[in-house]
């Protein structure tokens, strides 16, 4: 293949394991001489379409997960403070991400991480236009323009297509990475993803 393959990073901003993965994915891409294509999706639709469900939906798994989310974050040196509201509908923020991809693609990774930190670390609101604007403004982006993407018909259609794409490529949970056609589901498959991009297929 002539062009350098990206790592397609499918995520939902409400996913704690995707937060942990988002903090690691750039270093992995760099080690493997790849770039990251940040692909926001909405797990509600993914779960509905695939029949899969979130860990928190099962009582026994939920009881475990509520301890495992922050422990996994700590394991990687990250903070995770359980949000007041969980899960959230990340549509507003996801549309803002799509808007930024079209205007300042080089800023997208940092914006995604800023949104995750607002939600999972500092207790911010990323479900409203005001909340998304605040996160964007704080990092020097045009928050008003990004928040306004929430009411942009073209962006709305792009978001629908993004969700459908995530389902079509086989996603059933988050994060879900695809590189060279190979899928890696879960933050806990990043070690395998790293080996893949650094050493090659195995």
């Amino acid at each position: 293949m002539a062009t350098k393959q990206t790592i397609d990073f499918y995520f939902d901003l409400t996913s704690p394991y995707s937060y942990v993965a988002a903090e690691q994915i750039e270093a992995i891409a760099q080690a493997g001489n790849r770039t990251v294509n940040y692909k926001p999706t909405l797990l509600g639709f993914v779960f509905k379409s695939t029949g899969n469900s979130a860990p928190m939906m099962n009582p026994a798994k939920g009881k475990y997960s509520i301890k495992d989310f922050p422990r996994t974050a700590r394991f990687y040196g990250l903070e995770l403070n359980w949000p007041k509201q969980f899960p959230i509908n990340a549509t507003v923020a996801s549309r803002a991400i799509l808007k930024l991809k079209a205007t300042q693609p080089e800023k997208v990774g940092d914006f995604v991480r800023a949104l995750y930190r607002a939600y999972f670390v500092t207790g911010g609101d990323i479900t409203s236009e005001e909340g998304v604007k605040a996160v964007a403004d704080a990092m020097g982006l045009d928050g008003a323009a990004l928040a306004a993407a929430n009411n942009d018909e073209a962006i709305k259609e792009q978001m629908k297509a993004a969700v459908q794409e995530s389902i079509d490529i086989g996603m059933f949970g988050a994060p879900y990475c695809v590189v060279d056609g190979e899928a890696f589901w879960g933050q806990d498959r990043l070690d395998q993803l790293r080996k893949w991009v650094v050493e090659g297929p195995f």
Copy 2:
């Protein structure tokens, strides 16, 4: 606490990720100055009780998992050849393990791994008394006695209690490790388990 804590390793012989974990757990225990308490259980009952389900039960997750099982094995330098029959009912082999725990506890880990290799590497049958006897005999154990545990009323009761215990302690999938009261679900949490037993709680 005065006595050295064990790592309680709950597993089902039909679980591919438990096979991979069984190949790693002794080194982790040794690094943390612990011993492993091998605790066979039966996921069918665990899933029924908790409402959780096997990865292969969901079409999208199953399609991914059938590739992820052997890739994960390869990642750790292990072979995994997809069995002709999957899943299996591991009752006969699990009762043999309980019998061996009572008679030659120091052999249990190797017997568990021999059963896993028979099932996931060399295509052996571990669902029948004959199959379990063959695996045991091949490693110099009294295969006939271990296979006969399948019809031992006391062992049958122990197996029921073992399954109930796995449910009671919160298990919802395999492998499920408990150390110092802390639970680690999945082969992909062994890194966290290692950190826990080597460096302490985090």
